[in-house]
Symmetry: C2
Subunit: 480 residues, 2 copies
C-alpha cells in the first residue's frame, strides 16, 4: 500500500472532524481508543480489515504483567515491580528504553485490573510445563526466562504470562473482549478503511488523515492527533531485506495481513524517527513439552551454545542470529518425547559418534560435547551454560537422535520489534528526538518495551499499556 | 550539532548559487566534487573542519579494488570482476545491494586508474603477513578473508587491498592526493563551514542549504543538488544506543571529529529513508603478526567459534556480536609472538587445564577444545572451522597462554556502515524508495557496498566510486 504526506493548506475542508483518530484495531488501537474516550475525546477508529483483531487476535494471547497482580497472588506467587524491572532490563539488554520499562513495571498491577475491567476473563490457576500457550485455560504461565540462568540470579523469578481463560492460543479471546469494550464505548469504528495519507501543516504538525473506505476517499481532521497502531512489518519483504534480512529464513511470520509496515512508513514520511528496525523476536519452540529441555542444542560444529532450558524466544534468537539457523536438538532414549509443534527427528545413532556422522559433523565433535556435558551433569552441574535440574540428565541411553532445528525444516516464528520512535506518552519523535505534533503511535508500529531478549506477552502488554497512554495524550491535546 | 529543514518559499534570495554543493571533504566528498567538475558543474565543497581529509585521512588508506587492476597485474595476481563479485556477495551476505556491488566490480579496474590519475601514488609490490596496514610502503595486501574458509572455496582468491605508497597507515596520503586534486580543479572549497539546514520546496525537492562559516550563516542555492558526504555516526552515542548499542563497548572508534551523523540526520529530516543503521565494522586485530593465527580464539565456554585465520574484521564481528566481546586467543610457546597492537597476555598455565582454571573456565572445557583441535591438526585438518596451513599447529608446547580479547581490555575498532538510502547514482531515496529530488549522498553517510562482513578498503572504495557518480548525477541535473 502506497502512502503519502500531503500539505494541509491545500485542503479546503475535511469531510469530518474528531478529537482522536486511531488507525488500526489490534490490541494497541483498541487500548488507544479506550484511553481516548476515557479522557473524554470524540474518537474514531479506522481498521483496514473487515473487523477488529489484527495480529493480536492470532497471537497466543499472553500478556506480560507482574509486580504482584491479583492473578499472581491468587496463584500463590510473590512478585514486585522492582524484580520485574530487573528481569526485563537484564533480558532485553542493550538498547532498551528504561523510562518505558520503569513506567510499565510501576503500572502493571493497575493495568491488569484495567484489562479485567475491559472484560478479558482470567482463571486463577497456574500451568507448568509449556510456555506461552498452555493447552488448558489456566491463567498464569512462565512466558520468559525468569527462572533460568542467568536471570534467576539477577532477579527473583515469578511467572508473568497472563493468559485469557480459553484453551490454547488465547489472542482471539483478548481481542474479542477488547473489541467488545470498544463497541460499547462512545468511540466509533469504521472497517475496510485504510489510512493512505496524512495531512501536515506548514509548521510540521499533523492535523488530519485521508482514509479510503471501501476505496472511497474520506478526509478526517483530528484535533488532538492521530494514533498509528497498525502493527509491525514482518510481512514486508523489502523492509526485512533492508533491516533484518535473516528474518526471511523463518518459516512462520507471526502476523495478520496488515503487518506490512504501512503505518511505520507513513510516520517516517511525515518526519518520524525510528528505533530498532533491525530487532525481531524469533521463537524456536522445540522444547515443547518441557522434557525436551534435557536435550542438547548443538550448532554446525557440534557445540552447545545456550542453556536449553531458556525460553523458546531466547533459543530462537541465539539459533537464528548467532548460529545462522543451523542447529539440532540432541536427545537420547531416556527422555525423548514427541515434540509438540511438528519438529522432526532427522538422524539416529546407537552412539554419539554414529549420530555425529549421520549429521555430517566433524569427527569427535559431538562425542566431545556430550562427554563434557555428561561429566558435569552427573554432578548436577552445567558450568558452561547453567542449565538446571530437572533437565540435567547425562545423555547415555541409546539410541541417540537429532531433532532438526535448521531454518530449512524447523518452525522459526518471527515478528518485528522496531518501529517509530515514541516517548512514554505515545508522542512520535523525529530523528532528533523532538515531538512531531499531532502524531502518536503504539504497539508494534513503535519501538516499545522489548527490543531484544523477548518474553511472550510483552507485545500485548506494551501495546495495551502505551496504547492507553497514547490515546489519553492525544485526547488531552484536543482540549488545548 | 542541531540541524533543520526549512521552507525554501520563505527565503527571498540565496547568498550564492552553484550547480552542485558537496558537504564534507573526506574521500567521498572529494570524489563527488571531482565527479561534478568533470561533468562541467560549478561546484562548492563545504567542510566543517579547518581542512580536508576527514576520517578517510586517519584510516589505513586501503582501497578495496580488483578485477585485474594494473597493480594486481604488476604484482602477478590474476583477478576478475566476476570472482571479486562472488567474494563480496558471499562475505557481505544478507542485506547487500547487488546492483551497487555489480557496478563496483565492473568498474573497479577503471576506478583504480582514475585514483592514480588523481595523484595517489602506488608501489607495485605485494606485502604478505599483515592485513590492512602494512608497515612498509608496499602497494598490495590481503585486506579481507578471500583466501580463508569458506570464501576460498566460493571465489578465486586475490589480494585486493590497494595501499598508497607510504609506510604504515596511508589514509593521509590518499586524502592529501585527493584534496590536492580538488584544489587544482575548478571546484571551490570553504572550510570551517557546517551545513546546518536544507531548504525544501513545497514539492519536496531540496534546492539549497544554509552553511555556517565561522558561525556566520550563508545560504547556497544548488541548481543540481546537494551531495551529503559527511561520514558515519560512530561518535554519536545516542545514535549508537538507538541502532547498535554493542558498538559502545569498543575501545576504539575509527573516526575524525565529524562522524556524529549530522548529515544522516539532516537527510532523514528532509524525508530520506535509511538502510542498515545497525550495521558496523568491528575489527579485532589480535592476529598481527599473522603467526598468531595459529592460536585458538575461545569464548567464555572455552569453545572455538571461528577460523582464526579469518580477516580481523571478521574476527571482530564474531567476537563482539556473537560472543558478547568475551574471548581469548589461546597460544602455546611454540609459536607465540608479541601481538602488534598492545594485546596483553592475561593468564599462563603449564597445561591447558591449568590455563582454563586461571581463566575461570569450566573444568574440562578448554582441555576438550584443545584436544579436539590437536587431534585434527595433526592430520592437517580443521573440520570444525576450516582453518588452513600454515596455522594448523597442535598446541602442545608449554607454557600455554591466553591473550585477552575481552572488550574491557582489548582493541576493538569500530565504525558504522549504515546510512541514507541511495540508488546507484547517489540519489537519496525516501522510505518508499522514491527519489528525493535534489539530494544526493555518498560514503559512510550512506548504506553502501558493505553492510556486514567487512573487508578493509571497502569504505574508501565505496565512497570514491559512488561519490564520483553522485557528483556526476547532480551535475547532470543542474543542466535540466
Amino acid at each position: 500500500m502506497k502512502t503519502e504526506v500531503l500539505d494541509a493548506g491545500e485542503l479546503t475542508r475535511f469531510d469530518e472532524e474528531v478529537d482522536v483518530l486511531v488507525v488500526g484495531l489490534g490490541a494497541a488501537g483498541a487500548a488507544a481508543a479506550l484511553g481516548a474516550v476515557e479522557a473524554g475525546a470524540t474518537t474514531l477508529v479506522a481498521e483496514r480489515a473487515g473487523g477488529g483483531g489484527g495480529t493480536s487476535a492470532m497471537s497466543g494471547g499472553v500478556i506480560y504483567l507482574g509486580g504482584g497482580t491479583a492473578l499472581q497472588k491468587a496463584c500463590g506467587f510473590e512478585d514486585s515491580p522492582e524484580e520485574m524491572l530487573k528481569y526485563l532490563q537484564a533480558s532485553i539488554g542493550a538498547g532498551r528504553d528504561d523510562r518505558k520499562l520503569e513506567l510499565y513495571c510501576d503500572g502493571t498491577v493497575e493495568h491488569f485490573d484495567w484489562l479485567v475491567a475491559q472484560g478479558i476473563p482470567y482463571k486463577s490457576t497456574f500451568y507448568y510445563g509449556q510456555s506461552g500457550e498452555p493447552p488448558t485455560d489456566d491463567g498464569l504461565v512462565w512466558s520468559g526466562s525468569e527462572n533460568v540462568h542467568p536471570f534467576r540470579d539477577l532477579a527473583k523469578p515469578a511467572p508473568r504470562g497472563h493468559v485469557a481463560a480459553v484453551p490454547g492460543a488465547a489472542g482471539h479471546k483478548v481481542m474479542s473482549s477488547l473489541c467488545t469494550a470498544v463497541e460499547a464505548s462512545p468511540a466509533r469504528t469504521v472497517f475496510n478503511a485504510s489510512c493512505t495519507a496524512l495531512y501536515r501543516e506548514r509548521d510540521g504538525a499533523i492535523t488530519g488523515a485521508r482514509l479510503e473506505v471501501f476505496g472511497e476517499p474520506r478526509t478526517v481532521r483530528a484535533r488532538g492527533g492521530i494514533v498509528i497502531a497498525t502493527g509491525g512489518f514482518v510481512l514486508n519483504d523489502e523492509m526485512l531485506d533492508a533491516y533484518r534480512p535473516e528474518a526471511r529464513k523463518c518459516s512462520m511470520r507471526v502476523a495478520a495481513d496488515g503487518d506490512d509496515g504501512s503505518g511505520i512508513r507513513l510516520g517516517m514520511e511525515a518526519g518520524a524517527g525510528t528505533r530498532h528496525l533491525d530487532k525481531v523476536s524469533v521463537s524456536l519452540p522445540v522444547t515443547q513439552p518441557w522434557d525436551l529441555k534435557a536435550g542438547l542444542l548443538v550448532n554446525a560444529q557440534g557445540q552447545r551454545f545456550i542453556n536449553e532450558d531458556a525460553y523458546y524466544g531466547r533459543l530462537g534468537d541465539y539459533a537464528l542470529l548467532r548460529q545462522d539457523g543451523r542447529c539440532w536438538l540432541i536427545v537420547d532414549d531416556g527422555f525423548f518425547v514427541q515434540p509438540e509443534y511438528g519438529f522432526e527427528v532427522v538422524a539416529v545413532g546407537e552412539t554419539p559418534a554414529e549420530l555425529g556422522r549421520e549429521l555430517g559433523l566433524a569427527e569427535g565433535a559431538l562425542e566431545s560435547t556430550i562427554e563434557l556435558f555428561n561429566h558435569h551433569a552427573r554432578r548436577g552441574e552445567d558450568p558452561l551454560f547453567g542449565k538446571r535440574e530437572p533437565y540435567l540428565r547425562p545423555l547415555e541411553t541409546p539410541p541417540f537422535a537429532a531433532i532438526d532445528c535448521t531454518t530449512e525444516h524447523a518452525r522459526y516464528a518471527v515478528f518485528t520489534l522496531g518501529g517509530l520512535a515514541t516517548d512514554v506518552d505515545g508522542r512520535v519523535l523525529d530523528p532528533e528526538g523532538r515531538v512531531l505534533a499531532g502524531l502518536y503511535a503504539a504497539g508494534r508500529s513503535t519501538s516499545g518495551l522489548a527490543v531484544g531478549g523477548y518474553s511472550s506477552g510483552l507485545s500485548l502488554g506494551d501495546g495495551t499499556f502505551f496504547g492507553r497512554r497514547a490515546g489519553r495524550t492525544a485526547a488531552t491535546r484536543a482540549r488545548r
